[in-house]
Symmetry: C2
Subunit: 301 residues, 2 copies
């Protein structure tokens, strides 16, 4: 309904429309929207998996939309990509073989290859069109996708971890929201296969939505992880273009604790948001989030 | 323009309108808007100082709007009110006499009187209608305005600190954005008068806008404070309904450092966001904010 009011910025039948001065709106929840003034619609297509658009916005620069939801923007992507990458990579003392599931824009890969220990980074993205469009329209984000250490595989991440065993030091799940093809990336079965795909001292991180709007989902994921991983933690970061501005990440680890890092051995990587102090601070959960974790488990989420 | 597209939710000529199922939009910057689905418009009036509305929203509950800008919502107010209050009050070892400038909704006062050392809390709010409407429509926020230790004065905060001397342990500036009547609350002259109004070991905090969108303003304020206060720090917190989701607070102190607190003597106060660990973490500035502070000072902001 809001889209009708604002005018949907592209016409599905015509493909790309370039309406200078119009607005894009994302319904972040049924009751909450963010709207960005659009300078130019650079691209629109229907891929085999989703609707994909790249718009250039006044407030946040070039913005990747999947199914009308903001995935990443050139101006604020560093919050998300740094926090989902450097927390696990600095927790592991020697991450050499890294798997990224989703994340076809390349932002996580760009951060992963900043770590000098990394010998191989595999990106498993189901939708080849995301990678192709990121390379064309978001070069600052996709910049490392052609790095010699990076292998891009167009596969279902759920299938990939079903087949792998004792392979990865770190797995990063950079998924869309838990609707459509990404639902399976939020299941206990998937987390068990992630565990199996990790080496004996491996660890993984997944983006796990807003503590403000998805508390029950976070509660259920944390419960699933507690049954699979000996070390299991939640951390938070500000993500300006995501609903509520505050985002959660869930970390499951076989051996290394993100709160017990020998910072002297952590590599110096150039960042705009992440620092060791912010790493520590991200695990300081507000009481309202602690309450979510301590709430009785509900079947519905 | 966006308001036209969405339909302005009230008609100035008619006063209150109750359009069930419509949306309220705030233009957070000229290029960025947040929209909340409105259940009911509870109140609208034009006060001597500003347009004031209270709307009940699906996503954030009852919401106070001043000049069409979200001041506070029942669901997310605790982030802001706790972070602007408990950081300075825990930094001072014995805050007895506290001044709050602005903050007519009462949220800061509610947090201030949680501190057992506080003997007197003075609220200086220019607009009596904000206080009256908060008491009527936002009782969970205004709850402590009738506390015996609280004095509410309907005065200009700029004038108040011009007249006071060596009076307050802690001053909290809970202002609107630096437009209209609040411009003077962001000036070096005001900060000098705040300094003068504080006791010899006093300290103050002000909300100082978004590091994402108001970097130059923050840079200038921090420079002003550095010339007035021996201790001068910036800290950050997530505020879901404010532009960019990340907000800044500037603290100037004559003696006590917010990073050197004896936590054993800090009182136990019930909070939903603030904790000592979050207090510490809030001062861990991301590199992009450090860059703002180290940038050359510009005359225009």
């Amino acid at each position: 309904m809001l889209n009708l009011l604002l005018g949907k910025f592209f016409d599905k039948n015509k493909g790309v429309l370039n309406l200078r001065g119009t607005w894009f709106s994302e319904l972040q929840t049924p009751d909450l929207a963010i709207s960005l003034k659009v300078k130019e619609t650079l691209h629109y297509e229907k891929t085999p998996y989703q609707e994909l658009a790249v718009v250039d916005t006044e407030a946040y620069g070039r913005t990747l939309l999947l199914d009308n939801i903001i995935m990443t923007t050139v101006k604020d992507e560093f919050f998300y990509h740094e926090m989902i990458s450097h927390v696990p990579l600095n927790t592991h003392p020697n991450p050499r073989n890294v798997l990224v599931i989703g994340g076809g824009d390349g932002g996580v890969i760009r951060e992963v290859v900043k770590h000098p220990t990394v010998e191989k980074a595999t990106l498993v993205e189901i939708d080849a069109r995301v990678v192709a469009n990121a390379k064309e329209y978001l070069p600052e984000i996709a910049v490392a996708l052609d790095d010699a250490r990076v292998e891009v595989r167009y596969e279902d991440g759920i299938e990939h971890v079903r087949l792998m065993e004792d392979t990865y030091d770190v797995i990063i799940v950079d998924s869309t929201d838990p609707i459509g093809p990404a639902v399976g990336l939020f299941s206990a079965e998937f987390y068990r296969n992630v565990y199996k795909s990790l080496k004996a001292d491996g660890l993984f991180v997944a983006q796990t939505e807003s503590p403000f709007f998805s508390g029950k989902l976070i509660r259920r994921i944390q419960d699933d992880l507690a049954q699979i991983f000996p070390i299991n933690r939640l951390y938070l970061a500000t993500i300006p273009t995501y609903p509520g501005g505050l985002w959660s990440f869930s970390l499951g680890s076989k051996e290394y604790d993100p709160l017990r890092i020998d910072w002297k051995r952590a590599p110096q990587v150039a960042t705009r948001y992440y620092t060791p102090a912010i790493h520590q601070g991200a695990f300081a959960l507000p009481p309202f989030v602690q309450e979510i974790l301590e709430a009785p488990l509900e079947s519905e989420y």
